[in-house]
Symmetry: C2
Subunit: 194 residues, 2 copies
DNA sequence: GTCTATAAAGAGATAGAC
DNA sequence: GTCTATCTCTTTATAGAC
């Protein structure tokens, strides 16, 4: 894959709603080219095919999340406070670019098939959360759970599911909380027991 | 779609590892036919194409989960106890048929594109959990969270993520807990705060 | 280096005999 | 229900203009 110019990258986002709606499989590369306003041959010049295009966009988003999460981690405050900032960042970026977020969450299998994307996913979601869980156990602001991985999975799982249910495939009668990140964290933090 | 004989259905499962590994997109229908030992023409006799085959298998598993979850819900005990039984059932069935579980979790987008599968997913995962959360708030065994949907999302999210991380795409250095369901529920129930 | 046009290859799906 | 042969559509890849 050649280095993709910013203008191409930004145009590609125009094709994302299409991909998110019907899946990459059903999306012809001509549709992508037309919708994005990029000649098909140019796409083949930069990418080796459809998969690589989507992988590039995923990578793009995951890197952005990892970067902002890293910033949120570096702020002042207890581990809990920073954890909340990190999760809020993740949710914000996923919902901000709704179509890409949908495509990503709806296609976790694709990510798990690519080692590079697995790495990016870890940097964006697991690593910051897991580190904060460990820190929190240290500074006493979080309880020390036996397996920090289980904690970060719970958080990541609830984040992506909340996006899935509220943004990607919302039921008709659903009322989305204004402060989704806050309410979600409340549940995860305090648990379900009385 | 014609009614699929049990023998065809069971043979189809042989092709699942293939689909889970490389995705449906990269799986040729000839490969499915060969691996499952079903003539390609017969597949087209019962199904309209690849998508319908996978949808059928998903439906199959989701129905099984919904059925067993419904049984677990009907047992004696507090809401919490039955909730644990339901979640353990879900995890058990997802891991028991590892390849199908992988394909399902890795392809949530496909499910969200099909209203019938969304229904089945709800019956298998959301509905039983959400009902138990409401019941639990009633009998005092669970705290009354503002939005029960958030609770069921948290549970479902952590369930699928734990499957994803431990079963579908396990890291090399990962130690999978023996009692995954139990430890996971401990986190979700008691929360992350001290 | 980038684009237009088009040819070649490969997969999904179908038709009709058995 | 199953088989062989075939048709069609998509992707891939290239040749050549700019």
């Amino acid at each position: 894959m050649r280095k993709v110019p910013a203008q191409i990258a930004s145009k590609l986002h125009l094709a994302l709603p299409l991909i998110a709606e019907q899946g990459l499989e059903q999306t012809k590369i001509d549709e992508i080219a037309d919708t994005a306003g990029i000649p098909k041959a140019t796409l083949y010049y930069y990418f080796s095919g459809k998969e690589e295009i989507l992988a590039f966009l995923f990578e793009d988003m995951l890197t952005a999340i990892a970067d902002e999460a890293s910033i949120a981690m570096g702020t002042e405050g207890t581990a809990v406070e920073r954890l909340e900032a990190v999760v809020a960042t993740q949710i914000r970026l996923l919902t901000q670019n709704r179509a890409l977020g949908s495509a990503l969450i709806g296609d976790l299998g694709r990510i798990s098939r690519s080692p590079a994307l697995v790495d990016s996913l870890q940097s964006a979601f697991y690593t910051p959360v897991e580190n904060l869980l460990i820190e929190g156990a240290g500074d006493g602001s979080l309880r020390a759970i036996a397996n920090p991985l289980l904690g970060s999975m719970t958080i990541f799982g609830s984040v992506i599911m909340s996006i899935l249910v509220t943004v990607i495939a919302p039921a008709d009668d659903l009322d989305v909380p204004n402060d989704l990140a806050g309410e979600l964290l409340d549940v995860v933090m305090r648990g379900l027991l009385p």
